[in-house]
């Protein structure tokens, strides 16, 4: 978008490189192509959720329902796959995603509910529906074509990784280069000004929630195909993972700022941490500790690199630090 966001992207990339270099030294296996593809594969599901989440967060909203939406659309897809075949199943899964997104979007815009609580409630509803629909049992998937979405490779690259890259490219392009993308930034930056400027801010928001819902369904396909099973509780907790990826990637919860490239890097940072800890056989009790500390370090560097650089070149005074720390609030209107 502009220089500032470019810099923040690059910063996230630095973090990724830092973690990557440490792991390359610590584990001989880390920097092999199979392992890196594993990271991509493990990241793909949360990363897809993070794409929609980025749109929603740039709009100064949040979507906590993505994990549950993933689970619900996964079980619906799997059940229809058993009874009616591939295409109806895929269509039904996408329809669930659209419906969930529409409902979230309308609750936030028309019913004027804070997105945090609205999507927390839909998360609860969808989680319950998934269990109800399946009586709590996983739904096995034997369709060979469908499994391919998760298990095949194209030119040596796992299909989920390809899907992830295509989705990031397409939605990144939409965000950065289209009118709709500009409306997303403008509405998130200052919803009132956007409305008065003639932007249909409610539609912009509803569409973002729909994107989030559809990508949750797509993520559900991948996860189901990888496991050959749809689990009603499959997405539990993935919403926090996705949100963390978005924020680590430099998008501000206050809205108006962020890039999809940052989100991709954020998702990869999280994936690399998990992968690295498994490779190094870090004690499972300590994994949460390490993960938390690495996230803290990453975000700390991201937010303070300028200030730290300033310290070195002695350009910054107390006023600078204070004024930049208040920018997010200023921006909130």
């Amino acid at each position: 978008m502009n220089l500032k966001s470019l810099a923040s992207r690059l910063r996230a990339v630095w973090m990724l490189l830092l973690v990557g270099i440490i792991l390359t030294i610590a584990s001989p296996v880390f920097l092999t192509s199979t392992n890196l593809l594993n990271v991509g594969l493990a990241t793909s599901v949360a990363a897809l959720l993070a794409v929609g989440q980025t749109y929603v967060i740039i709009l100064a909203e949040i979507d906590l329902s993505v994990g549950a939406a993933l689970g619900f659309s996964a079980v619906v897809t799997a059940q229809i796959l058993r009874s009616d075949g591939l295409l109806p199943a895929l269509a039904a899964g996408v329809a669930v995603g659209v419906a969930v997104g529409l409902i979230n979007g309308l609750l936030v815009t028309k019913a004027r509910m804070p997105s945090f609580i609205a999507t927390l409630a839909t998360m609860s509803v969808l989680g319950g529906l998934s269990l109800q629909l399946t009586s709590g049992n996983p739904v096995a998937v034997t369709d060979y074509t469908f499994q391919g979405i998760g298990q095949n490779r194209l030119a040596g690259i796992p299909v989920p990784v390809l899907i992830m890259l295509v989705v990031f490219a397409v939605f990144g392009f939409v965000l950065a280069r289209t009118r709709y993308g500009r409306f997303v930034y403008a509405t998130g930056d200052n919803a009132e000004a956007a409305r008065l400027s003639g932007i249909r801010t409610q539609r912009v928001k509803v569409l973002a929630f729909v994107i989030s819902g559809v990508l949750a369904a797509l993520a559900g396909f991948i996860l189901t195909a990888r496991l050959s099973t749809a689990e009603p509780t499959a997405g539990t907790g993935l919403e926090l993972e996705a949100i963390a990826a978005v924020i680590i990637g430099g998008t501000s919860l206050a809205g108006g700022r962020g890039t999809l490239l940052g989100t991709l890097v954020g998702a990869l940072v999280l994936g690399v941490i998990d992968n690295g800890m498994n490779l190094l056989d870090v004690s499972p009790f300590l994994q949460d500790v390490v993960k938390g500390l690495v996230i803290l370090l990453a975000v700390f560097l991201d937010r303070n690199l300028d200030a730290l650089r300033g310290l070195v070149t002695r350009r910054s005074g107390p006023g600078d630090a204070a004024s930049s720390s208040t920018t997010p609030e200023l921006a909130r209107q």
């Binding site: 594993n38 594969l41 493990a42 996983p138 499959a234 498994n278």
Partner: protein, 312 residues
């Protein structure tokens, strides 16, 4: 039956009450769902009005649910404790309200139980260790995939497994990672473990859900059936995997049978009959040799949901 010696009667059961509340530690797991199904099927047979509640793995929720059930004056309170220690409060409360209380799966560490019925989780870990060792002929490198850390089952199964596997000098545990009893997590964790230890010979997963996730990871590397995989529980997918030779064994603990047992004990208590105060159920090691037989046994119980269609 095989349990402890003493028996007890259900106190005020003669009041003619026909209802019971069963508080499950979780329902986000097919094992417990099947317990619930078994219990409900059996209650329907015996005319017992059974309410099932879900504590969602939270001690606090479990306690709150118990308190509510006790103030409703249910006929029998049935607990599936989230943890042994934390269930004591609920048992004490029920005791002081003269409500008969029974527990299954995990035994509360205090209070007076009318009866307890359950599988031995430490033993489950041991059995799995023995089965794994046997299929590896006592030597090789293995990985352990643990459940949700901090839960009783995960702790006990891990303890049993580790104690037992240590007895096999030829076997080394090269990786020990948690996948939170979750299939998708186990897939990622196992993929990474295979990356670090490509020469692995065997895997123990603390439940079959994770075993299935691990199996997906093995399949992706064409190692299914080559790396020995042992799980716990005996869910339908695991039975199918054993039948097809992709999995070595599982320590099956029929949840449906457990549920049935719980309901019939509750009915006995309400009817004022004598029941054993303690009944430990034992898991059954399922391998390719006996998987058909076990499937037949389950179908006989009425538990078709836990039998893969290929074995029905």
């Amino acid at each position: 039956s095989r349990g402890g010696g003493s028996t007890a009667t259900g106190g005020k059961a003669a009041s003619g009450k026909k209802d019971a509340t069963m508080i499950m530690s979780t329902l986000n797991n097919p094992f417990f769902v099947s317990v619930k199904n078994g219990a409900q099927a059996q209650s329907a047979k015996q005319g017992l009005k059974l309410a099932v509640q879900n504590a969602d793995n939270s001690d606090a929720t479990a306690l709150n649910l118990s308190t509510t059930a006790i103030s409703k004056q249910v006929g029998v309170l049935i607990l599936d404790p989230v943890s042994s220690q934390s269930a004591t409060s609920a048992v004490n409360q029920a005791n002081s309200s003269n409500i008969p209380v029974m527990a299954f799966d995990r035994k509360p560490s205090g209070g007076k139980l009318t009866c307890f019925v359950g599988y031995d989780a430490v033993e489950a870990g041991r059995n799995a260790a023995d089965a794994l060792a046997k299929s590896l002929d006592g030597k090789g490198k293995v990985a352990e995939i643990q459940g949700i850390l901090g839960t009783n089952v995960a702790q006990d199964r891990s303890k049993g497994f580790e104690e037992e596997i240590a007895k096999y000098k030829g076997i080394t545990v090269v990786a020990k990672q948690s996948a939170g009893f979750d299939r998708a997590k186990a897939l990622n964790v196992m993929t990474n473990v295979l990356q670090a230890h490509s020469d692995i010979d065997g895997v123990y997963a603390a439940n079959d859900e994770m075993a299935m996730g691990a199996l997906s990871a093995l399949k992706a590397r064409n190692l299914a059936g080559k790396v020995e995989l042992v799980g716990n529980d005996g869910i339908s997918d695991a039975l199918a995997a054993i039948a097809s030779g992709q999995m070595a064994a599982t320590n099956a603990e029929s949840p449906y049978a457990l549920g049935q047992k719980v309901s019939s004990l509750a009915s006995d208590i309400l009817a004022g009959k004598q029941v054993d105060t303690e009944e430990t159920l034992h898991g059954k090691l399922i391998t390719k040799d006996n998987v058909k037989e076990y499937a037949k046994y389950l179908v006989g119980l009425g538990d078709t949901a836990d039998v893969p269609s290929s074995l029905r």
